[in-house]
């Protein structure tokens, strides 16, 4: 897939209200390992709204921003404190890289996570990736400083 114009980047799983604000017809969507909510839930909603999701892996944010392919970044809050917001892990990467590349970051409400078994880092799409004896660490949320948010 070739990207010829700048498009927004979605990092996280937005509340349904977010999609009404989206004007573009094509957006980058981070896949969100290990659960792949970006690749599945977010992409499915976008497709229903006739918006093309361009899926990228969570390690491609920096490349896309550096190449000038990202117009703005959307991240999504699960909770707010005085100085920071609680977001899906990886949002801090998106926000810090965006600041470095002078790309505005906008905050919207996240979809309330459903109570379900956490996805395994050792699998993808129910297929085993590597040895099941490996130790894993999957932090689901992280704090992002409010100073990194434009609006």
């Amino acid at each position: 897939m070739q990207i010829n114009n700048k498009i927004p980047l979605i990092f996280g799983n937005p509340d349904v209200s977010f999609y009404e604000t989206l004007e573009e017809k094509k957006v980058f969507v981070a896949e969100l390992r290990p659960g792949l909510e970006g690749m599945n839930a977010v992409a499915s909603v976008l497709l229903k709204k006739k918006i093309t999701p361009v899926l990228i892996c969570d390690n491609m944010l920096g490349f896309c921003m550096k190449q000038g392919l990202v117009s703005k970044v959307f991240i999504f809050t699960h909770a707010v404190s005085k100085d920071s917001i609680l977001c899906r892990t990886g949002s801090l990467i998106a926000a810090l890289l965006a600041r470095e590349h002078k790309i505005p970051v906008y905050l919207f409400k996240a979809k309330t996570p459903s109570v379900s078994k956490q996805a395994s880092l050792l699998k993808i799409g129910n297929k085993k990736v590597t040895a099941s004896s490996l130790k894993t660490y999957v932090p689901l949320f992280e704090e992002v400083s409010k100073t990194l948010i434009e609006g």
Partner: protein, 322 residues
Amino acid sequence: MKESILFWPVRLKGTTLYILDETLVPKKVVTIKVKNYKQAIRAVVDMKTRAFGQFLTVCYTFILELKNSKATSTEELLGILKKVALAFNQSRPTFPFEEVTSMMLGFAQKVSASPNFKDDFIRMVEGFLEKGIRQKRYERARQAATLLKDGDVVLTHCHVSGEMSLIGEFCRLQKKRVKFFATETRPYFQGSRLTAWELKKSGLDVTLVPDNAVAKLMSDGDVTCVIVGSDRSAKNGDFANKIGTYQIAMLAKHFKIPFYVLAQPSKKIAEGRDIPIEMRGDDEILTFEGKRLAPRGAVAFYPGFDVVENNLVTQHINVDAN
């Protein structure tokens, strides 16, 4: 010192090249039998071998084709080597195939006046691999271990062809306790399948993390340094490595964490921006082992590598093959 099977993933026995199929590790340890340069290039294009494995594949394929050839004149044999070089140079863009094939052709030129051209060339390449490469990779791993302190926690990305476990082994010898975090390295999972697996197999303390957890680890103070490999280096110290390396380098700078790269200096490319970046197909992100992961209609964007500028590197740990 015990080497990981991934440290030297390609071997030549007689007239067969055995290439470890890195896409199957750790589920299976299978070698692909290669009889000629076309099969070797297929293994490279299909990413059955990668990084250092590609380097070995090129070197051994030159030997293989000479062994296979019934030609007797040096001129004919040189023609075969040039044909092999051209084919590798056109196989994948980011890895410096041209630099490796030029080196091989340079060796061939050096012994072209010899009446035993074939044998002398093979001896020269084999000697180069043993002394120029194997021993220098050991030295590079030792140097990297020297930079680490007791109690350090290393974050690594993708896979450095068996060298990270060697660093762990050197740390052990130096009586340092070092832990590792390995990113899974989507979409090919080199971190999950290769790095984490081999570090654990070597008895080292390793934890696998998703690519999106890097800033969380750094902001929580869980990582004390980053060590990555380099698929291709430029003269000014910029380098290209597996996609995701650039954002890790940026984050390391932000969180003031030392960022080290295991590199091989190059004089061919001036700056990182001159390194061509391979773009790969959508399906490699959208599917896994034939199973579709994303809804129909979704597309993907897959740059295979990215470039890290030299100002983000705390120290290059170099091995110069020349």
